[in-house]
């Protein structure tokens, strides 16, 4: 590894604390701007005035804003995001409980999106201007245009209600509920680890629809980026060289053209994965998937401020880490030093 590359990687690492601080500040300010009085949320609507005053003092709300931020920051560093009114548990506990389901959903969707999107993009670029290319173009533009909640509802209508080939919403059939041990929090994995194949197949079946809906959304993006990168790579002079060497079409396509875009593609995949989090918020709402997105929208509707801010912060954090990984991939993997 050259010094230059290391410096670049360190530079992207160094920007993290600043961005992180900004992230926390923004969530804090959003929380303070909320029209809901956090004291009433905790003490209840009908608490006597002296109780309200005491809670206000305890929460440090009589302090100036910077002091309040300091308290918020200190609690955060101790892993304390406050309590959720809706679940009456610590928000960190809630997030730990809900996050694995999102991870399971998003990762499955990502695998599907990559396995379909990348080859589609590569072949579309190779056959640029052909009918196949046009079909792929429309198919992926449609994926970027369809609202995830509409697609989810229509899927439920067609595959669950009309055709009856897919299970309904949720993560597991009611009959199996509570039977799968909590190991990783990802039900399909837990059922497999437990060795219970009925539960495994039921969980997997429940995963198919939301994962497919979510995957379509990112697949569209991955396909389009892959196609664009490949078209650029295929127009390179080194492709003429490869052809002049008498290489086979597949070797030119995969070894030379695709080999040149893998690093950039990795960064796109990291961003696509981050984008999945956004899609997950809506998908989980439509399919009642008990993940962080459902937790977020649920607490929004209940004006559960701590939960909203906690979930927002955690999603922002994951997003930040993925962005960082994509930056690092660029500066560490590409043999070309910039």
């Amino acid at each position: 590894m050259t010094g230059h590359r290391l410096r670049q990687a360190l530079a992207s690492l160094a920007s993290v604390p600043v961005t992180l601080f900004g992230l926390v500040l923004v969530t804090f300010l959003i929380g303070r701007a909320m029209p809901i009085d956090p004291v009433i949320a905790i003490a209840g609507d009908h608490a006597p005035p002296d109780v309200i005053a005491r809670v206000r003092l305890e929460m440090g709300l009589d302090q100036p804003l910077p002091v309040q931020f300091w308290i918020y920051l200190r609690n955060l560093l101790h892993g304390d995001l406050g309590h959720s009114v809706m679940t009456s548990r610590a928000v960190t506990e809630d997030i730990a409980r809900f996050f694995p389901a999102t991870l399971e959903l998003a990762t499955t969707a990502m695998i599907v999106a990559v396995l379909l999107g990348v080859p589609l993009g590569v072949v579309a670029a190779w056959r640029q201007g052909s009918r196949f290319d046009h079909v792929v173009r429309v198919f992926s533009l449609a994926g970027q245009s369809v609202p995830v909640f509409v697609l989810g509802l229509v899927c439920l209508l067609v595959f669950y209600a009309k055709l009856g080939i897919a299970p309904g919403t949720g993560q597991l059939d009611v009959a199996y509920e509570g039977l799968v041990p909590h190991i990783t929090g990802m039900l399909v994995l837990d059922a497999a680890l437990d060795g219970d194949w009925d539960e495994f197949w039921d969980a997997a079946a429940h995963l198919v629809q939301p994962a497919a809906v979510l995957a379509y959304f990112s697949m569209a993006y991955i396909t389009r980026m892959t196609r664009a990168f490949m078209i650029e790579a295929l127009s390179g002079e080194y492709i003429v060289t490869a052809r002049a060497k008498g290489l086979s079409a597949s070797r030119i396509l995969w070894r030379h053209a695709f080999g040149n875009i893998t690093v950039r593609l990795v960064t796109v995949l990291a961003l696509a994965y981050a984008g999945l989090l956004e899609g997950a918020v809506i998908t989980e709402t439509v399919f009642s998937w008990p993940g962080i997105g459902l937790y977020l929208t649920g607490s929004l509707l209940n004006a559960d401020m701590n939960a909203v801010l906690g979930a927002t912060l955690v999603i922002g954090l994951v997003y930040l880490v993925l962005n960082l990984l994509s930056d690092l991939a660029y500066s560490l993997l590409d043999p070309r030093v910039r």
Partner: protein
């Protein structure tokens, strides 16, 4: 004859109809060194690349005859073309910065050319790549083999390119402006290397350049192209006897020590050359 071309035409579709880039070019090439000279857009590169069928996909190519060693290139299928490309005819392009794959090491790119046409294990091919790098007069072939193109200078990159194209031991080498992107001090070195290798291996050479004196110095014959056609073809030693006004114009706009001029001539283009 290694290459026979008769009435080659290359056209490109544009908004206002077909535009002709190469018109009715005929030439033959044996085991000799032929230079094609012309300005940018004169069709010299397209003519050369037609021999390997390496034109852009939107190009339309027609000819009465387009043959490599008796093989009809217009009707040849992809596998047949692949047996010619690299194996029997190599192509060296202008700028190694773009013509070498940026994410493969020099050694891997040479070894690939070797293995595709000669087979053998990875190890043998890697060793062959180092040998080839030594043949193109690189002092530290093992180090260069492990380098990525961006780590090499232009002259070094072009040597890698030459080594790669010589790996399968072809009969014809097409060099498309092989030194235009290089520093002046390296240009002559690379050309001498090409000439030396071509003569030693008894190959045919098609050297494409915009530099008339340079080409005439290294080649046996010179063809001058203008606006898609060959306007003049003559032995390299008889350049002074050129008759076409374009060729004369190219020669006269150069300063010489033997015939000093107060003011160099400026090329006067005649629209009738286009017809």
């Amino acid at each position: 004859m290694l290459v026979e071309i008769e009435n080659l035409r290359v056209q490109f579709p544009t908004a206002t109809g077909m535009s002709e880039a190469v018109r009715n070019v005929s030439l033959t090439l044996g085991q000799e060194k032929l230079g094609i000279v012309g300005e940018s857009g004169s069709g010299k590169s397209l003519t050369a690349r037609s021999i390997m069928r390496l034109l852009p996909s939107n190009a339309r190519i027609t000819a009465d005859r387009l043959q490599f060693d008796g093989i009809d290139l217009l009707t040849a299928d992809e596998p047949a073309l692949r047996r010619i490309r690299g194996r029997r005819a190599g192509l060296i392009m202008q700028d190694p910065k773009y013509s070498l794959n940026p994410v493969m090491t020099a050694g891997a790119q040479i070894a690939e050319a070797w293995r595709v046409h000669r087979g053998g294990s990875r190890k043998v091919a890697a060793q062959a790549a180092i040998d080839l790098l030594a043949q193109v007069q690189i002092r530290d072939p093992a180090r260069v083999a492990g380098s990525y193109p961006h780590e090499l200078s232009g002259g070094m990159g072009q040597r890698v390119m030459i080594a790669m194209m010589l790996a399968p031991d072809p009969e014809l080498l097409i060099a498309d402006e092989p030194t235009s992107a290089l520093d002046a001090s390296v240009q002559a070195e690379i050309l001498r290397l090409i000439e030396d290798l071509v003569s030693r291996r008894g190959m045919g050479l098609l050297l494409i350049s915009h530099d008339l004196p340079l080409v005439s110095h290294f080649c046996d014959r010179v063809a001058v192209m203008y606006a898609g056609r060959i306007v003049e073809e003559l032995p390299a030693g008889e350049l002074t006897r050129a008759t076409h006004p374009y060729t004369r114009g190219l020669l006269e706009c150069l300063p010489t020590l033997s015939h000093p001029q107060r003011r160099l001539k400026v090329m006067q283009r005649d629209p009738s050359w286009l017809i």
